[in-house]
Structure formats: structure tokens, C-alpha cells
Amino acid sequence: MSMAHKNIAAATGLLAFTGWYGVLTATLPERSIMPNTPGPSFFPWLITAGLCALSLALLFQGITQLKRQSGAVPVPDRQDAKTPALALASMAIYLAALPYLGFVLASMCFFAVLMWLYGSRNPVMIVAGSVLGPVILFVLFRYGFNIILPRGLW
């Protein structure tokens, strides 16, 4: 995707966010310490105006860039998206499971998946790393720094 397309995508997304933010700002109560002084919605309104103006500027910039580069062959983005997507998905599952399984058990599974995604194919190393890593961190933080980590429901 070219920079022009990225700018247009960013501007569109931010305009949508700005619209939503503006609608929510309109629902904020109007109250202030004294008359003619800013209340809770003043700053959000300023931000809404700023975001709107800047998003439109970025959209204009993106469209201008697109017109300038029309005819040019865009360079395809060859970066691998599958591995990062798998990593993020596994992190999402890990975080969802964390309150139920507890830190040690959930982290062992997550650690193993990450080791595999980062390129380890040695099963002994994966098992050893995914068991020792979370256990060491748990002991270090729980008993070394007195930081309570999730224990899970079991």
C-alpha cells in the first residue's frame, strides 16, 4: 500500500473517530464554576475541532499524493502478516485466559507459542523454556518484589 493510500486510510479512520468523539462530547453535562468559564466539555470540543481539521488536512494530502502518483506502479508490501497476526491472536487468547488459568499456567502455554513463532523448533527447548520462564518470573515478582500475580480460579 502506498503512502497516499495509508494517509487516506488514516484520515478516514480518524474522521470516523472524531465523529464518534464529537457525538459523545455533545452528551457531556454543561456545568462550570462561574458564568462564561469553560466546563467539562470545553477541552473535548477543542480536541474534536483539532482532530477534524487535521484529519481533513491529511485526507487532502493523501488525495493530492494519489493524483501525483497516478500511473506509477505501487511497490507491493511483501512483509509477512501471518506470523504477527498469529502472535497477536495468541496474546489475545492468553489475556482472556489469564484470570481463569492464572499467571503460571496461562503463561506457560503462551510462552511456548511465542517460542515457536520466534523460530524455535526444538521441542526440548520449547518445553524447558516455557516451564522455567514463567515459573522464574512468578517467583521473582511474587517473592522477590512482593507483586501479586493472578492465581486463577483453580
Binding site: 495509508k6 462564561n36 468559564t37 496474546m91 492468553y94 489469564l98 518470573l137
Partner: protein, 493 residues
């Protein structure tokens, strides 16, 4: 205090290791270490983090010289002359120059910090709400100018950060805003969890991509001669060190400028004033001394606005502000007034951080570089778990962990869209102050906005903000015109 000294030394050791590992930035290292500081005394916490900050800048040069992969962005300029020296068999000489230059840059910026900070704090005590608003606004404006190739994207990033900051209770009246009835959102988004997500998660994802440079032979890692610089080299690097130190200190004071900019400006200027500019890039000691002294001097410079005005000079000092706030200490001019012992404690911890950085690097370099061989398959998952621990430990809340993950996705999207993250981060830190000072100023003036233009300091900072924005627009336009000219030239050929 002995505990602070020990903490500084440990921080320096960790900093050298963190800085050395490509793919781990100093910010990530500090974020990882931060949860461990929750249970420590404030002075010990800051000493630990300062040690990491200072030594991290030096550590980045080791992999830059040995592998041509900068360990931190600030070490990018060091690789230009450092790696050619390593290829010539002079790795030890290059590393020694790097360590000594870093030390000198750090000490010169310490002197600036020691001399300037207390005086600046006294001036800052006179600031009222309009002045403070304009100062914070200037801090954000200059970050957007420096940190982004595109000013519009920098400002958008900052505006988005300000929008995030409005979640929770408004700072003046306590009205709940954008909480959707959720009790967790009432206290707002903690900027440290957002920071962990914005910095660490994209870094972890980046490291998943195969990088041919990472498979480089580590044969050169332990085969280097003496690292203690010769007297002749020390004479050669005295001017580059001076240029680098002054450049770095000045740019460190400016929010958003940071180590990489200081290193390259210092390198470029040293080359211009050198009698042998054609030698730069081929492996000369001056080409290492200038950027290395600059990037360590940035650390001291960045502490000046952080401590005296409460404005972070770079992402690392933003995290340091967070660390101080966690311990109930607010950086700013009142820190010197009410807790002068603590303020000077920070300054002298910075001094000792440079001493320990020099000592540990010179004594332990041959062992430390073995860290470069640490398997990534163990390091990266460990960092991922430390991010989760760091977010959870702040308030023992799963909500913060989910917020961290959300901001991780935001950080990845911003990287892909080439929107800078630093303005967003600094907006998260400075946003509450910005709104509070603005509303207090307008309340005291009964809604009259001329209050921002009738105060000398406020007008001064607003003019500086306008200059930085106009300069950034002009620089962007000039760069676009040059690119268009270059393309047109290529087409006609």
C-alpha cells in the same frame, strides 16, 4: 546513600545489556524494569532507572560497532565509523573511544544540569496558569515538529493522545467523561499501560520478522584488542567530544529532539569543521566520539526540563515522570522547593550513573558482549510476559492489561500508517496539565482568552510554538520540492 549507589550500578549494568541488544530500546528496558521499582524507595527507583538510561545509550554503540546493527536508535551514527574500524581489526579501539566519549558527554551534561536546573526552577516558580499552559503547549508543538516527518501526522498523534486523556474525571470539576458507566474508566487510562502497549508490543511484533542482519557471525564479538584509548586518540577526540556534548545537552533540553537527532547533528557538524572530512565514514575515531558524546549528553539535557518544568525531553524522561508520580512526587519547580534533597539526589544519581557506566563498560565489556548471543526465542517471550506483569502490577487490574493490549494494536497500526507514537505518548503525560492550566487560566480571567497573550512568558512560549510549527512546515515543503526536483531529474535522464 549506599542503596542509591548500588541501584545506580545495577541499573547501569542492565542498561548496557539492554542498550546492546538490537530490537530492545532503552524505553522498553525501562518499562520492563518499572514494575520492579514499585516496591523500592523513590530515590532508589530513580537511581536504578537513571543508571539504565545513561548506560543504555552507551550499550547501543557496542552492537553498532561490532555488528553494524545499532542497539538503540541513538547509536545509528556511531555505526558509520565504528563498524569500518571493527572490520579493520580495531574493534577494541572503537569501543574504548565510544565508552570514554559517552562518559565525557554525560559529565558535561551533568554540569549543565547541576548549574542550570536550580536557576531554571526558580524562574519557573513565577509561572502562573497561562504561562504553564503555553509552556506545555510549546512542549507538545515542538515534539510534533521534531518527532514526525509530517507535521500533520505529528499533530494528529498528539490530538489523539489528548482525546484519550479526557477519559475519566475532568481535572477541575471531577465530572465523569467518556466512561460509559464503567468504574475502571473513571480513573482514566494510565499512561504507563498505554506506553507499554505503544512501545513494547510493536517492538515484539517487529522482531518476529526475519532479519538477515541478525544471523551475523558473532565471531568478532570477543576478538578485540585493548579497549583503553591511547593518549593520541584522546587528543584527537577532544573537539568532537566538546561539539557532541554541547549539541547533545542543548538538544536534550528541547522536548522531542532526542538522541538520534543529536548524534547525527553532532556527527555532521564535526565532519564539517574537521581538517579531514573525507575520512569520515571510513573509520576514524572522531566519527565515533561526536555522536557518542552527543547521545549521552542528551540524557542530562532531557533531565533539565523534566525536573524543573515537569516536561519530558524524550520518551524515557516521560517514563521517569511516570515513575516519580507513582511514588507521589511531581516533577516541576516545586520539587526543588519542597524536596530539594530528592531533586539533588536525582542530579547526583545521574553523575554516578555516568561513573558506573564508564567503570562497568571498561571492566566488563568482554563478558557483556556475550549477551549479544542470547537466543531471541527466549528473550522476546520473556519481554512479552514482563509487559503483562508491568501492566497488571500497577493497579492489580486485568483492565489495565487489556488497555495495554489495545494500545499495542494502536501502536502497530500507527507504525504501519507511519504516524509517530512519541507525540501521542507525550500528550498522555502532558494532557491533564494542559487542560487544567487552560481552564484555571480562563476561569481566573472570566473566559477572556487575552490572558494568554498579555503575560510575557505565555506570549513567549506561544511565539516559540508558532515558530516551531512554521519551521516544520517550511522544512517539509523544502524536502518535498527537493524530492520532486530529484524525480524530475531522473525522468529526463
Amino acid at each position: 546513600m549506599p542503596s542509591s549507589l548500588i541501584a545506580t550500578a545495577i541499573g547501569a549494568l542492565i542498561g548496557l545489556i539492554v542498550g546492546m541488544i538490537p530490537g530492545l530500546t532503552i524505553s522498553t528496558g525501562i518499562i520492563i524494569l518499572l514494575p520492579m521499582t514499585f516496591v523500592l524507595a523513590p530515590n532508589v527507583s530513580i537511581a536504578l532507572l537513571l543508571g539504565l538510561y545513561v548506560a543504555g545509550m552507551t550499550g547501543g554503540s557496542f552492537s553498532a560497532i561490532l555488528l553494524n546493527i545499532p542497539g538503540t536508535p541513538s547509536a545509528s551514527a556511531t555505526a558509520i565509523d565504528g563498524y569500518p574500524m571493527c572490520k579493520r581489526g580495531e574493534a577494541g579501539r572503537a569501543l574504548g573511544i565510544s565508552i570514554v566519549s559517552s562518559f565525557c558527554g554525560g559529565i558535561i551534561s551533568f554540569l549543565s544540569l547541576f548549574l542550570i536546573a536550580p536557576s531554571l526552577a526558580e524562574v519557573a516558580l513565577q509561572f502562573r496558569a497561562p504561562d504553564l499552559f503555553s509552556l506545555v503547549f510549546f512542549g507538545l508543538a515542538i515534539i510534533c515538529s521534531f518527532a514526525a516527518k509530517s507535521l500533520i501526522k505529528g499533530l494528529l498523534s498528539a490530538a489523539f493522545g489528548l482525546a484519550i486523556v479526557t477519559i475519566g474525571q475532568d481535572p477541575v470539576m471531577g465530572t465523569a467523561r467518556f466512561t460509559f458507566g464503567n468504574v475502571e474508566l473513571l480513573s482514566g487510562i494510565h499512561f504507563l499501560t498505554a506506553m507499554i502497549g505503544l512501545f513494547a508490543i510493536p517492538q515484539l511484533i517487529d522482531n518476529l520478522r526475519p532479519d538477515p542482519a541478525r544471523g551475523k557471525s558473532s565471531g568478532s564479538l570477543t576478538r578485540f584488542g585493548t579497549i583503553l584509548p591511547m593518549l593520541s586518540d584522546l587528543v584527537k577526540i577532544r573537539i568532537p567530544i566538546l561539539i557532541g556534548s554541547l549539541t547533545g545537552t542543548f538538544l536534550g533540553i528541547l522536548p522531542g529532539a532526542g538522541g538520534p537527532i543529536a548524534a547525527f547533528i553532532s556527527y555532521d557538524y564535526t565532519r564539517k569543521v574537521s581538517k579531514t572530512p573525507e575520512e569520515f565514514g571510513k573509520g576514524i575515531v572522531e566519527g565515533i566520539a561526536a555522536p557518542e558524546s552527543a547521545n549521552n549528553a542528551v540524557a542530562g539535557g532531557a533531565l533539565i526540563p523534566m525536573m524543573t518544568l515537569g516536561i519530558p525531553g524524550d520518551p524515557v524522561t516521560a517514563i521517569l515522570i511516570g515513575a516519580l508520580l507513582i511514588h507521589g512526587l511531581a516533577p516541576g519547580p516545586l520539587l526543588f522547593l519542597e524536596r530539594a534533597d530528592f531533586a539533588y539526589g536525582i542530579i547526583f544519581s545521574f553523575f554516578w550513573a555516568n561513573i558506573f557506566n564508564l567503570a562497568i563498560a571498561l571492566a566488563g565489556l568482554r563478558i557483556l558482549v556475550k549477551v549479544l548471543a542470547t537466543p531471541r526465542v527466549l528473550l522476546m517471550p520473556t519481554i512479552a510476559l514482563l509487559c503483562v506483569i508491568g501492566s497488571y502490577a500497577l493497579r492489580n487490574s486485568f483492565f489495565d492489561v487489556y488497555v495495554m493490549f489495545f494500545f499495542g494494536l494502536v501502536g502497530i497500526a500507527m507504525r504501519w500508517l507511519e504516524i509517530p507514537v512519541v507525540p501521542l505518548l507525550l500528550a498522555l503525560v502532558l494532557g491533564p496539565q494542559l487542560e487544567e492550566h487552560m481552564r484555571v487560566a480562563l476561569t481566573s480571567s472570566h473566559g477572556d482568552i487575552s490572558i494568554f497573550f498579555t503575560s510575557f512568558f505565555s506570549l513567549f512560549f506561544l511565539i516559540l510554538s508558532a515558530i516551531s510549527i512554521v519551521w516544520s512546515l517550511w522544512a517539509e515543503r523544502r524536502s518535498r520540492l527537493r524530492a520532486a526536483k530529484f524525480e524530475a531529474g531522473n525522468t529526463t535522464q
